[in-house]
Symmetry: C2
Subunit: 685 residues, 2 copies
């Protein structure tokens, strides 16, 4: 304890940097940085261990700014400690191609752990980071080797508190007794609509108590550094519960508009900037000022962090001697490369093998590879038996005291918390030692859309196991049958949407999902059984699209996915037998991966000269990219046995054939009839 | 009080109907109906007032089954009371084209208030129904005329409890002090993964207390009918808080598997069906049995409901005499028709009017029409100043005791609770007297996707005011810039996605949104200013797409939306001046509405003979339906001033022109060059 002039100076430096950067950008949120500078100063200097020269050091403490709009707080701190965030970067806050975007993006900026801003996400990420630490410790720590023991700290505001995703994650964190998680709630009574009393009058602390958290309140977050420090220390001492500290602060501390919504999302006015600097003893004519003693103090703590990493590296070296396998396994995981030969465990199927639902085939993949890929941590949002996400002898990730599992367990029961699950998985993935896979029905991946988007944006290798992928789920009906869902996620950049048609395609989907280090995947899987296809191989599946049935005489290409591919193959027979028309079939389990193939290959799959018709039992939106005509379902489904539902909507060999004939006829006079693969120009990427 | 043999018989009749229906369908969830039959029996018979012969009676008590998978409970009860749910309908549970789908759908089944099943939705709907009651009472009740005083009752289970949407809605309901809302939590300790102790160990009652709810616990929900009744009565007596009753029950009560997950989502086995019936004194050989005394008792209560409605109709008649305007206004609202001439209030613009952001133009619409359309109730998820959702002299919908507004207020501050807001709006719309409109950023409508989908599926006239609709929001950056969002919602059936280009199109969007009684709308609105277009009129906008600039010599059609339409118009000039190429422009504010126009009209907009290129600053997915080539953004955006961001991605007259030239060249040899409007076959609707 004991705070003095330099501490005050440092805090005010952070504040004025936030004021200057938002003023210069004429955009941004000065309020939160000004209000939370004191707690950030205390937390980073007194508690957090990290090495700015190596932001990837595994055992660093993690920090998450869930109220990501306050990112100038984080950029200022990263700069002061000597991360790769230069003063020039601060001066280019919120400018095109700078590393200081309007909200923190993990992929862009050294020292940013997770991408936040969409409210509540960071909170769930923090829970995921804490789970990952606990699990990694559970797997790798050995007697006398507490290799992994970092804490996760998270700041969050009123906005995050109100978001359902944060409630879900907080409830699960309480259940999991995550003693390594310390969250600080910026209780500043202000959100964008003004005083929180207009819509947010619950007792937040009591709610967290109900979740099983340890709770504290620091009443003067603006200047009582000792109490802030004591509260964080007490939270660290509580080992069997996550902790929340309600910290009452003044938003925009120092501004003329402090304590009001006026300072939340707009830069200060010029005269206010001036008076703030005068109030804090800064030269009002100068901008982006960092007193040398502040740099010195922060660099000193950075050096301590570098020394801590050096110590840890020695520990790891010693560990390597006594636990050779563990050490090399840990290093392998950090490289993101999978174990040599793991892919040989992937199940392969012959056409004569029985028909099986792809959700079951997915289970077979997990069963087959879970030993070979120990970083895979599966789970489900309370649909384990339906999603088939659990291998037989899986151990639950649970607090040992529950008797239900242990920290090294690799199966996580997320509860009915899809959005929380997805946000938590993003955090787990960001930790660096885990590949998380989580299940729900495809239709309810939509509940998690906010986090799924951030899986893509922040390049997390997260796997969404999305079963019951269409009207093929049958009786549950329209409330559960996806229509728009695949179009939604196919439109999301850097997302692989897989809809495998059989066993080999399912194995291919997992192969690509696990080996694509920077891309998440959604596995859309059937409830109903599907036959094993003739042309389906791992190699074909890995291309995202391939010829499932070739015929040089074909008058039409049918391009399809998942459960409809085998119906298209039946339609070919029907067309031949009843109309004497030859047709060919393309299986397209993943358009994103198909798009990445060479143009020659793509044209060999969807050739010029004959029309292509897509067949998929949901929205046709987007299929125009790969086909001349589209057969789909641009309406909601129906509740009934799935075969009846397919029949109602004519997804039968007859129904497909009827439309194929119309398509052939419609295009017979168009010359040249180009494949839709041919484009006038390529998109910017 | 005082329960006897007939009560027991009725409860067991409900249980055996649920057992028989799920057994016959070989699908469905018997557990919840068997466990909740007692509370349903007490609630419907002792507390609820309704008339099965007129399920639309305004002042009926509302019932929501948020754990919608238990819908056989609801179907059985509707049948017993004499709603239009026949025994035959029960026997066709979960069959194609029956009115007893796998989850309750309001649009299909008389007596079902809202469409539930996706967990947590019903809970939020119930909050919306309670808000709507409170507001409608605030507007229409007069001294001595308590015209509107119904209660809303909701059953919810562990799954709903875990969902973030329910947390959001519960927090807001507590803030709003909704004394007319009584929710019964089926505390049966079972979810799909088994015992809730695996993931759900929070103190639910304490959490609701933290939200400001009145809480009770009934320990024996299986047979203690007196305590159930007493608790509901006590909850009714609490007028200034919503109430939750934690009701401990045994899932699948009576089954051999009672109290286990085995009875949650699967029909009972044949021998279990038999023993259940024997245990309850039913003939094990008979199915779908309703003892006459049960019908008699339920029909008696139904008659009381019919009499209550008759009384109420007399009250309304008397009210009509003393409050003529109120009465006719109420009747008009129930007809769903807007007041005569309201549309004359819609703002219209001349091309010479200044450039204005469509979010501001939306505000002008609300300002102009809010008096003429009194059923419009606006709000925002804590982005009031950014969404521009509040007219100047709006009164907040708030408990009068807060001093912040009153029950008749027409502005709802939802807090940062997008999913909750959407679910609440669905409930408000379902009440019948309100058209809810709620704002957030377009990117965060995705947080609400679960509810938005149900707006469409259940035909609710809900308006999503979605501002900051693209990279045009600028500095907030990729975390906030929608890319996939319009594709997502355009793929959703029965949803109008509007992206107006100027003032008249914004007015048109509101005209269509308000007059489409069974279709929700999303208004994608800009942050940045847009000029008023020459050809834009209300009539043109109402067609969803129209020619914004005609040129008979045109070599290409540029089809665009919102902020890009005016850039396309500049591109036409650029093409003419620099390449001597004539081009025409189509503005397409709403593809869903354009699709509904005649083929002749559509072909006049997107004609044969010349290629069409779409221009929209987000995912191109789906634009292939209206264009030969697509210029869009199939990657994430960038943080910076919006003009810089547009330039970075070449959404400039030059960038558009460059691609237009490539497109013209690419299609010059294709004959016939058909408009994409021409299709080989039409989709099933
Ligand atoms: Ca706040
Ligand atoms: Ca339950």
């Amino acid at each position: 304890m004991g705070y003095g002039k330099v501490d005050e100076l440092a805090i005010n430096t952070i504040r004025t940097l936030a004021v200057d950067a938002t003023f210069q950008a004429n955009s941004g949120h000065p309020g939160a940085p000004m209000g939370m500078a004191p707690v950030a100063h205390v937390l980073f200097n007194k508690f957090m261990t990290f090495n700015p020269k190596n932001p990837d050091w595994l055992n660093r403490d993690r920090f998450v700014l869930s109220n990501g709009h306050g990112c100038m707080l984080q950029y200022a701190i990263l700069h002061l400690f000597g991360y790769g965030v230069s003063m020039d970067a601060l001066k280019h806050f919120r400018q095109v191609d700078s590393i200081t975007p309007g909200h923190p993006e993990a992929h862009d900026t050294p020292g940013i752990e997770v991408t936040t801003g969409p409210l509540g996400q960071g909170f769930a990420n923090a829970v995921g980071l804490a789970i990952a630490q606990q699990h990694t410790a559970g797997v790798f720590n050995k007697p006398n080797f507490e290799l992994i023991n970092n804490h996760t700290y998270c700041f969050f505001g009123d906005g995050c508190s109100m978001e359902g995703i944060a409630s879900e994650a907080a409830s699960l964190a309480g259940h999991l007794q995550l003693g390594n998680l310390i969250c600080i709630y910026d209780d500043n009574h202000i959100s964008i609509d003004g005083d929180t009393k207009v819509s947010f009058t619950e007792d937040v602390t009591k709610r967290f108590e109900a979740y099983g958290w340890h709770t504290q309140h620091v009443e003067d977050g603006d200047s009582d550094l000792e109490s802030i420090e004591a509260a964080i220390q007490k939270a660290k001492d509580v080992k069997d519960k996550p902790s929340v500290i309600k910290l009452t602060t003044t938003i925009g501390f120092g501004s003329k508009l402090q304590g009001t919504g006026g300072v939340h999302g707009n830069p200060l006015k010029a005269d206010d900037v001036k008076q703030v600097k005068e109030k804090f003893g800064f030269d009002p004519e100068k901008t982006f000022v960092v007193p040398q003693e502040v740099y010195d103090a922060y660099h000193k703590h950075a050096s301590e962090g570098a020394a801590a990493e050096e110590e840890w590296n020695k520990l790891l070296e010693k560990y390597s001697g006594e636990h050779k396998d563990g050490a090399s396994e840990l290093k392998r995981r950090l490289s993101r490369k999978l174990p040599e030969g793991w892919q040989n465990k992937l199940p392969v199927y012959k056409p004569s093998d029985p028909a099986v639902a792809t959700r079951k085939l997915s289970e077979s993949v997990l069963e087959a590879i879970h030993e070979a890929v120990p970083e895979l941590l599966s789970g489900s949002a309370d649909l384990t038996g339906s999603n088939n996400t659990r291998w037989k002898n899986a151990v639950d990730f649970q607090p040992p005291s529950t008797g239900l599992g242990d920290w090294s367990g690799r199966y996580l029961r997320y509860g009915v918390r899809e959005h929380g699950m997805a946000g938590i998985m993003n955090g787990m993935s960001a930790y660096g030692t885990i590949i998380p896979a989580g299940g729900t029905f495809l239709n309810f991946v939509s509940y998690a859309a906010g986090s799924v988007r951030l899986s893509s944006l922040s390049h997390q290798r997260v796997i969404y196991i999305a079963t019951h992928d269409s009207i093929g789920l049958g009786e549950d009906g329209p409330t559960h049958q996806p229509i728009e869902t695949l179009a939604h996620f196919r439109a999301l950049p850097n997302m692989m949407v897989w809809r495998p048609a059989d066993g080999n395609e399912t194995s291919a989907a997992y192969y690509m999902a696990l080996t694509s280090h920077e891309t998440p995947s959604i596995m859309a899987l059937t409830r109903q059984n599907l036959p094993q296809l003739e042309a389906s191989t791992l190699a074909n599946g890995n291309k995202g699209g391939y010829v499932a049935l070739e015929d040089k005489e074909a008058k039409i290409t049918l391009v399809s996915t998942g459960s409809e591919v085998s119906i298209c193959l039946e339609a070919v027979k029907y067309l031949k037998d009843n109309k004497s028309i030859a047709a060919r079939v393309v299986s397209m389990p993943c358009t994103e991966v198909f798009d990445a193939q060479s143009k020659d290959y793509k044209l060999s799959v969807i050739p010029d000269g004959i029309p292509t018709m897509s067949v998929e039992v949901m929205s046709t939106l987007g299929w125009e990219k790969y086909s001349h005509e589209q057969f789909g379902l641009n309406r909601f489904g129906a509740s009934g046995p799935y075969k009846d539902v397919y029949k109602k909507f004519e997804f039968t060999p007859e129904g497909i054939s009827k439309r194929a004939v119309l398509t052939i006829d419609f295009y017979k006079d168009v010359k040249p009839l180009r494949s839709p693969i041919n484009r006038a120009f390529t998109q910017l990427i």
